[in-house]
Amino acid sequence: MMGGVWHRDTISWLIVAAALPAAVAAVGTFGPLALGHMLLALAVIVFWQLVFLWSRAQPVSPIAIVTAIAVGVLAPGEFAPWQIVLAASFGTVIGEQVFGGWGRNIVNAAVAMLAFLYFAFPQTTIPGGGQLLALAVIPGALMLLVTGVLSWQVVLSAVVGTITVSLGLGENPMTVFASGSMVFGLVFLVGDPVASSATRAGRWIYGFLAGALLALLGWTDTGFDGPQAIIFACLVASLLAPLIDAGVIAATRRFWRPYNG
C-alpha cells in the first residue's frame, strides 16, 4: 500500500501556496494592518490546535495558515487585537476543532471566524479588496484546479449563479468579480473541498446557490464595498451542503432502483 501525492498535509500546503499571492496582495493593499491580523489569528489558531492536540489527540494541520490569511484578507478593518483573538478562537474551536479537526468540519473555520467578527462588531468598517487582489487570486485558483483540489463545478456554477442573479436584479455582474474579496471568498471559502457539497450533482447546486446568494445579499443588502456578502453567502451555502447531498443521494437512489431490482 503506497500513498499518492494528495496526502492531507500536502493538500493543505497546496492551498497555503495558492493563497500566498493573495496574502501578499492584501498586505500591499491594506498595509501592515492585514499582516498583523493574519499573524495574530495564526497564533490563536495554532494555540487552539495545540490545545486540541493535547486534550483530544486531534492532528494539527497547516490549513491554519489559510484560515489566518483569510482573516487578513477579508477583515482588514480597525479591529482591536482582543476582538481578533475572540473571533479567531470562536471560529477555530466552534467551526472546526469541536467537530474533530479539519476534514470533519461543516463550515469553513474562516467563515465562522469572519461571520462572528462581522456580527459582533458591526460598527467597524471593512474595506474590500480591489482588482489587484482579484488578479492575485487567479494563479492560485488555477493551480488548485489543475491539481484537483478545487472543484471546477463549484467555481463554474458559482460564477453562473452570480451572473444570473445579478442580471435578474438588473445589475452589472462584473462589479462582483472586480472585487478582490469576492473572488478570494469564491475560491478559498466557497470552493473549500471540506465544507462544500460532496456529490457531483450537489456541487453544481451548491455552487449555484452560493453564487446566487452572493449576488442577492450583495445587491440588496450589504453592497460590494465590503466583504460581508461572500461570507454570509458561503455560511448559508455550507450549512445547506449536507442537505443538498442528502437530496441528491435520495434522488439518485430512486433512479437506481430499477436496475437493482
Partner: protein, 415 residues
Amino acid sequence: MRISLRRGLTVPFKGEPSQIVDRNLAVDRIGLLGHDHGPIRAEVLVAAGEQVAVGTPVYRSRARQELLFCAPVSGTVERIEIGARRRFVEMSIIADGEDRRLDFDTSAADTPEGLRSLLLASGQWPALRARPFERIADPDGTPKALFVTAMDTAPHAPDPAPIIAERSQDFARGLAAMLLLTETPVYLCQPDIEPLARSSEHLKVVRFTGLHPAGLVGTHIARLQPPGDGETVWHIGYQDVIAIGHLLNTSRIDPYRIVSLSGPGVDNPRLVQVPLGADLHALARPNLTPGAKTILSGAVTGGRESTFLGRHDRQVTVVPRAPARQHHWLIEALRRVQTAAAFIPTQALEQTLGSGAPVTPLLRALSIGDAEAAQKLGCLHMAEEDLALASYVTGGTTDFGQKLRRVLDELEAGA
C-alpha cells in the same frame, strides 16, 4: 459493445516492466494464504512433511466438503498454520523442482454438473469469485451474470493480449467452459482491441477504454449488471480461464501464472512466470536495487505486503521502504496518539471510482463503519481493489479497502 470511461487516473510510477516473459525462474517455496478467500473453517488433508504433487488436495472447507484447495507445486508440505476457530491461515510447501502433476478425469466435463465437480476436485473452483462480498462462488449457485476479465489497467500490470494470444486454444476452451457453467449472460470484458471471442446471445464481448479503474471488474459490474438484493454475480480472471482451458485440454492443472515484477525497487522490471503462491522474497531478491524495500503482492495501489503471491494477484511491486524518521520524543508521542485524521474530499477523488456511486459520501460512511449507509451508496458490488485508488489519492493514510471489508463482513454476517 464498447464502453469508454471518462473518469480514471494514471499513477505515475517508475519501474515499468518490459513485456517479455521470463520463464526460467525457479521457485523453491510457495504458500497458500487464507487471506485470499476470507474466513474458511478448514479441514487440512495433509500433514507437515508429507509429499504432494501438483493437484493434490491439501485442505478443504468444513462447511462445503467438495470445495478443495490443491497444491500448485510438487514437493513437501513445510508448515501449516490454522488460526482461531479452525480458520485457515497459511500453508507453505517446499518445491522439489520435479513438477509431478496429477491427472484428472475430464470425460464428464461436457455437462454443467460434470464441469462443476471437475473444477471443484481440481482446486480450480476458487478462481471463481462472487459479489456481493467478494467470496468464492457458491458451488451450487447460479449467478445473475458471469464476468470474464480479460483486461488489466492497474499500474504496471501485465498486458493480457499477448498472454491470451499465445494460449488462444486454452483460452477458447476455458471460455466455452464458462458458458457451460451458467445459462445467464457471460460478459467478456476486454480492452479496445480485436474481439477475443465472437459475441452471441449468451456471450457478450464488451470493450472498455479509459484509464484505471476501467479494467477493474467492479467497474464492469457497475456498468453492466449491478447485483440487486439477494443476487450475485461471479467473476474470473483471464489467466484462470486459460488454466481451466488447459485442464480441460490436457487433464492436468496449470499452476503457473504470468505476473509482472516491477516498481522502483527492481533493477530489471519484467514479466515472470511463477506458480501460484510463489515466495515473493526469494523471487525478488536477485533483482533488488540496494536499500530497504517493501515487497507488495498486487499493484502499487492496493497491493499488500506479503510473503507469498496472493491467489488473485498478477503483480509484484517492489517499492523502497522509507526509513523511520526520528523526531523529538514529545512530537513522536503526540504523533502516535493522534486519532485518525479525516480525509479531504478533493475533486481528484471523483476520478477514483469506476461506478457511479457518490465517492465522498461512500468513503465517509466507510470510514465511520456505517454499514447501512455504505450499502445504500452501493458498496455491495465493490471489493477492496475498487477502493485502492481512493486510498492512494487520499495519501494512503486510511486503507478504505480494509474499511470496506469490515463493512462487508458486517453485512455478510447480518445477511
